[in-house]
Symmetry: D2
Subunit: 359 residues, 4 copies
């Protein structure tokens, strides 16, 4: 029972990988926001399978339909329901996984939890569920745009190939200029090589998505439990295959001394309060300080591989299983719009929450 996310800008998602549809209800999007179907569809298109030869070759159109809450081009304050129909949901053969517990998949844990499961293509545990997040995220991003806030994610690591330049040394307009969504062309080429190698070995590879949020005013985040970075962390960790989250100086920062790590305040020429360094990642005491927010999200290698693996079935018997179908050798490029969406949802929610903190 946790298919909702957000306190005031709140989404509730539904749908199984091979059921009739996936979708979302957005409750709490403020009235009067102008939004077009194209804007929502554009976000889904960035997530769509079959975009390039390093993602799954499945062709899914992922066309969104809005059922409520938008009238004459504007949100009305009532819940916005969006649905994306699944294609060909009856055409597949799942007999090979119906009784299998695939390694590092959720087959076993869903069965342990609920007693039964929709075994078709992973059911609810499939990353297809993120379609709903991306559709909702497009609405959130529109609200952020209205407030001058941008969210930009990119692939910063694939396997051991790591982009070492910090975000502020990169040209973020180049994120979509290559199929791996790394804004540095040279590193991108090496990353693509790693993905192709994994794909050609019938294997998969993990990586890291980095995200930068600019234009967030000071004051967002709700201590003590809903600290801004705590919600960002939860939102990211709720995405399929994510294994870690760090913001600002992160895990590396633990090696520093306080005197090195502290961000010194100053007043800039325009009278704005700023910090000379940004080890805080734009967040202090769980509240935004007006500097850029940045963080990293670790994704494990996709569990479905096209090689035979030993595992057990639901009778506890050892079996050999081999992945079928068309799968991503590396989720990272398609994870970028999902990280964007979840980050936008978190910031939109905190924007609304901050509206009630002062008399």
């Amino acid at each position: 029972m946790s298919n909702s996310y957000g306190t005031l800008f709140r989404i509730t998602t539904f749908g199984e990988s091979h059921g009739a549809a996936v979708g979302v209800i957005v409750d709490g999007c403020p009235a009067g926001l102008e939004i077009s179907m194209e804007e929502i569809q554009h976000a889904l298109d960035r997530r769509r399978p079959g975009q390039s030869d390093i993602t799954t070759p499945r062709k899914e159109e992922d066309k969104v339909t809005v059922l409520s809450g938008i009238f004459e081009g504007k949100t009305t304050g009532t819940p916005i329901a969006m649905v994306v129909n699944n294609k060909d949901q009856h055409s597949h053969d799942y007999s090979h996984i119906q009784h299998a517990f695939r390694p590092s998949h959720a087959d076993y844990t869903y069965t342990a939890k609920y007693g039964n499961r929709d075994y078709r293509g992973g059911g609810r545990s499939s990353a297809r569920e993120t379609v709903a997040r991306v559709a909702a995220g497009a609405l959130a991003a529109k609200l952020l745009q209205h407030h001058g806030i941008s969210v930009q994610s990119y692939v910063s690591q694939v396997g051991s190939v790591k982009l070492r330049k910090p975000y502020n040394k990169l040209d973020l307009s180049q994120i979509d200029s290559n199929k791996v969504r790394c804004p540095d062309g040279k590193i991108a080429a090496r990353m693509i090589g790693v993905v192709e190698e994994a794909r050609d070995s019938l294997d998969t590879i993990g990586g890291v998505v980095s995200c930068v949020i600019k234009g967030v005013p000071a004051g967002l985040g709700e201590p003590v439990f809903d600290k801004l970075h705590a919600e960002l962390g939860k939102a990211m960790l709720s995405i399929n295959a994510v294994k870690g989250f760090e913001y600002g100086s992160g895990f590396e920062g633990v090696k520093l001394r306080g005197s090195e790590h502290n961000d010194q305040f100053y007043t800039d020429e325009e009278g704005h309060i700023r910090t000379r360094t940004n080890n805080s990642g734009g967040i202090q005491g769980g509240i935004s300080n007006g500097q850029d927010i940045y963080f990293n999200v670790a994704f494990k290698p996709v569990a479905t591989i096209l090689q035979p693996q030993t595992t057990i079935n639901d009778a506890g018997e050892e079996i050999t299983l081999k992945g079928k179908g068309r799968h991503d050798p590396c989720v990272l490029p398609r994870a970028v719009p999902i990280v964007d969406a979840m980050a936008a949802l978190v910031i939109a929610d905190f924007l609304l929450r901050q509206k009630v903190n002062k008399v």
Copy 2:
């Protein structure tokens, strides 16, 4: 407005560093749980300042009083209120920080958020707030004990000194055997050296706490947003000074291929379903799989240092500030019981939530 945490086992905390008291209401602790004051006090004593020469020398007794919800030694199902009075809250002089925005503290962000702030000793942003979490965590831990679940945290890194042995190669009974709370004596000695060096330089140092949870049955965690590791992540990131969270193979695991990373299922001699490796960290698809859960939490160096620092005041003017008083050169040893508490609260909540998932 986020001083509550948990869905069914839910805590609400209050209190400023130098106000009258800090405390917590636990709502949702099941009726009939036997608990003694000593058990709660013991948890607080592990967190208490002044335990050793590498923590703050402040002497705070932190004696807990239970105001409701426990009757004749058992919980009654009604809310359990616990209060710890603050000592000497009127005896301090805060004139040096009343108008200052200390570097990497929450002075500026609280002011931006709320318009005013309780500037005495950091007010609500002080780590003193965690007293309430530890008291509540003791109740949660008691519930876990009833279900055969243990939570054990330890310091695995201080500065650049890192304990490389995985948790299952350590003797976790030794955690409290030294003042830095690292179960490996040799590494502990080196860590202590690093802390002392920082302390003697009037500086501070960061580190990592690792946590292991054993005995969790398969089935805990609520997809899709309240995945078990997503809530653990949020809970950890909500602790003061935390900058990162990873579980299972974490950030290192992204370098692996799927064929290396996947955890193969097998049935052990007693008929239990197990995995041969545990890169999943005991969690698959956001749900526990019955294996050990383990994760790492990164803590930045404490922001308060006893050296002069340049910063600004609330008029935006540059000032020089020097930390006063008695502060921790390294929060790690005292962070251990806080990580324990938050982990226990998360698991207790999911234990209750799982009770309603099947007809």
Copy 3:
């Protein structure tokens, strides 16, 4: 932002009267519950317009589609999305109400609240929204049936015609035996007369729905705020046109003395604890005591009348307005399945909540 209801058995609804569709996501329905499409459709058919000549003659099929969460005839524990498409949503002419604030409708208040509104047929404020509640209520009722609990509502008053017999003197199997849904045939005939008279005068009339819930075990309801009757009250008051709620002895009971009102406990021949009277309406201290739960719900006369009325438009100018179209002269008969649905949702939620109250 309040299109969700329930704590553990939780529904989120969407849809405008003349938008594309209305629907609901049910999150938290336990896994393993057997349910058929026919059972859900049956509940909707009881609410459907055009059932008789005393309800609106609009013909809406209200066919439900389940998009997720039910697999092979059973719930899976994942969210259950249900959608009912609206018919002919583009065929109407709303120019007469686009700028009008209809008396005792929500046109003015929605405009004041959100700045804009979907004026087609009342938009979100239309009672068409209750389609979603009834679909979700069918699932809840199925869960109650599994626990031996029944919910039965009936019309007990129309205008000044009041059924004075208490519920336990009625044959509740006769509720659907007449078109006004009053189980007493004689009173039903008089009620029908009153509705026809109102209809023929181009007017509308109010009334009361009574509800009886049998088989609820002792222990449901969550003090202190979510008392069983407090949630029943909220659920009923959230239905369109409801103006009052009372349970047990209700408003009449205030005239009694404690010695008359108190329900004396006794142990019956089978050893069950019972009360000799039931002024408590089956609820004491906000918790069910195992006796029948019963309550009354007051519905005002429908605001849409086919007579000319004076009101203002959104420029504040006085206008004359006359209802068009096909409307109910009395909502009571069609309100019965809605009261059933909301009552079932409340009890289902408390059934789940009670599962976690004891160690």
Copy 4:
């Protein structure tokens, strides 16, 4: 698990009748609200026992202590904890009720729910719990005052003595001018007679509290489930001994036709949108329309009577029980500040919620 109330202005209460203390945490009160201890204490004094010879003669001082969240006379945005210590909690003898299930009390239902209970003076089910509500309500009322909103409750019925004048024909400044808190002196005298008669017969009597809220702007209330009147209803029904709620025309209004019941809009001389009648009770479609809000709350006679009653003990055996101690023959006069408090909490919450509904 429901000791919290409110979405954004949220209270969490604790405490048993004869435990150490009762209290509340208010989370979400906006920062910068000026409030003095006297204002909070004043509200508690109106609820305090021993005010007159028609309430319980128990002498409880009910002195409130604020533990956090208020600094230099203003709220800081952090949680406000307030505690009222119980007096003499160890001096009573409860042996006569330890094993008894008192008629129409919550002894049996708490035992059924939780397995054990704090039997001292009703424990958590005692109306002493409302101390916490009144303290929190004082903060809410202060916020309302800041927005020009007033809440005024009064006793409108005791037994069969009913004040028939509507609220707008009364001088509400006279509410506290007599000990029964009815603003009409003649009716008040008759009510007092009824209470004295009940008291002298060692019995109790019920009644009705009416409440008027003035100055609420149009737009408060959150469809579809958190309609303004639905939350008011829930809040009132959550008060001990309440059996019914109606607003505007209420149960009487069901007898009217739509043409009689509809409230016609007009624009007044100052250009404000108003209605000529107010059967809607200031709420249309669940949202305030700017007119006065008014409602009635039915209270049953107090269950504790000083006469012998037949009931059973926890072994199911018949026993005779006689109330001891000092109890209210009629809760109505002391219920007035509790209705005030809950109404203020509801409106304060909706004021905050409305802040986020438009871009």
